[in-house]
């Protein structure tokens, strides 16, 4: 999922094109709600680290699958694209998830914005699981641990926004906070605005 994404089952009439970091949650919502008419295609989650590449990757996926579905929805928020993904989705005529990023829509965009947690570093279930592949190694901390404070010197707390109640992930997130030298907080969010948005689409 990190580098490859997943291909659609091609059985439904609606396609969700999503970030690979959301695959588990979206599949859970599809199953929970019995959305048999919905297919899911996921782009490589590692695009999270190179937001510049997201609009082109999403456009390519929309164009590739548009002939096979009645409706396509993009399960990305802005995700660091500085409004470029929203512009691209408007050009393509497809809807996307409102909000700045998944941390925000998992908690609920309004609640997230109200916190104004400038010095918080966030993990989701996915990022807690994939901490080394998405944070530690891309920042070179496996090779150059001395850089830790260059990256995280101004951060104070790691907040684990939990989509599920999983003690093992809680412990993993806590250890991530320890490795980054940050205080730790776990905040249960469930699927937040993601569930609301997908319900309105499905």
């Amino acid at each position: 999922m990190t580098h490859d994404g997943i291909a659609p089952a091609r059985s439904g009439s609606v396609l969700f094109i999503a970030c690979g970091a959301l695959a588990r949650e979206i599949l859970a919502l599809i199953e929970l709600n019995g959305w048999d008419h919905v297919d899911l295609v996921c782009l490589p989650a590692i695009l999270h680290n190179t937001p510049d590449a997201i609009p082109d990757a999403v456009e390519a996926a929309v164009r590739k699958h548009s002939h096979a579905y009645d409706d396509i929805r993009v399960v990305y928020a802005d995700c660091g694209t500085g409004g470029r993904l929203e512009d691209r989705c408007m050009e393509l005529g497809v809807a996307m998830v409102p909000g700045p990023h998944c941390y925000s829509f998992f908690e609920g965009n309004a609640a997230f914005a109200a916190h104004e947690e400038m010095t918080a570093f966030y993990l989701t279930d996915f990022l807690a699981r994939q901490f080394d592949a998405f944070v530690w190694e891309p920042l070179g901390l496996d090779r150059h641990p001395a850089l830790r404070d260059t990256y995280f010197g101004h951060y104070e707390t790691l907040i684990y926004l939990a989509q599920t109640d999983d003690p093992a992930l809680d412990a993993k997130a806590q250890s991530c906070a320890d490795r980054l030298g940050l205080a730790y907080e776990r905040r249960y969010t469930g699927y937040g605005d993601l569930a609301t948005e997908l319900h309105s689409w499905a």
Binding site: P51, D78, G80, T81, G82, G83, R84, P100, H101, A113, E116, M118, T119, L139, G140, L141, R143, H144, L147, T150, Y151, H154, Y155
Partner: protein
């Protein structure tokens, strides 16, 4: 870059070879070696400004190019920057004493709500290396902090940085305030940060968007030259 580092005695190298070695050591982020080499060149009578430009800035320019070309990545650039910073720390007081040329003056800071400063710090360092006097006002700056720094420091250039989609619109708040106060045209305004682009820079009324530290330096130099020409003609 080289596997023969252990056998290398920097003080035994000729000047040209030592400078070349410094480029390699900067590339590899070898802080202690850079400090040692800077001191060797000073002992050999090199002017601090010459060490800065020919050894450190030239070496860091190679790092910047390889970063842009996708050969080097952020961690390696940061290690190189730390090495350059260590070299500059030795040279800075000497540069002030020897009256090295100043190209211009810049106030730079990350906008309100944003604590990210890696890019800003790289820009500050490279601007200093290029002969600019840089006043870095740090992170999380409300418009009042920018105004105070502009009033106190009287720079030629204002630089603003943001990493977040949610904080980058604050740059417009700062520029709009400069316009309201009738002082916008007193400064060259440069903006940068990962989610920005040229279109955004234009839309908020900045003079230029700079995609990396090297572009920031080139843009600042070009803007200063244009300013001087304008003053000379006017």
């Amino acid at each position: 870059m080289s596997d023969d580092q252990d056998d290398l005695v920097l003080s035994e190298l000729e000047d040209d070879d030592l400078v070349q070695q410094m480029h390699d050591d900067l590339y590899d982020g070898l802080k202690e070696e850079i400090e040692e080499a800077v001191n060797i060149l000073l002992e050999r009578g090199w002017e601090p400004y010459r060490i800065l430009t020919e050894a450190l800035v030239a070496g860091m320019t190679i790092v910047g190019k390889d970063f842009r070309d996708g050969i080097l990545f952020v961690p390696e650039v940061l290690l190189a920057a730390n090495a350059m910073k260590a070299g500059m720390a030795i040279l800075k007081p000497l540069l002030a004493e020897t009256g090295a040329p100043t190209v211009g003056r810049m106030v730079i800071g990350t906008v309100k709500g944003d604590i990210h400063d890696i890019g800003k710090n790289l820009v500050s360092m490279m601007m200093e290396g290029a002969g600019f006097e840089v006043i870095d006002i740090g992170i999380n700056n409300p418009v009042e902090s920018y105004l105070e720094a502009l009033e106190t420091e009287k720079p030629d250039i204002l630089g603003m940085s943001a990493l977040l989609t949610t904080t980058m619109p604050y740059m417009k708040t700062v520029i709009d305030t400069l316009v309201q106060k009738g002082i916008r045209d007193d400064y060259v305004v440069l903006v940068g940060g990962a989610p920005l682009n040229e279109e955004f820079g234009k839309a908020i009324g900045a003079d230029a968007y700079c995609r990396d530290a090297a572009v920031a330096v080139e843009t600042a130099k070009a803007m200063m030259a244009r300013r001087h020409n304008r003053v000379a003609v006017g």
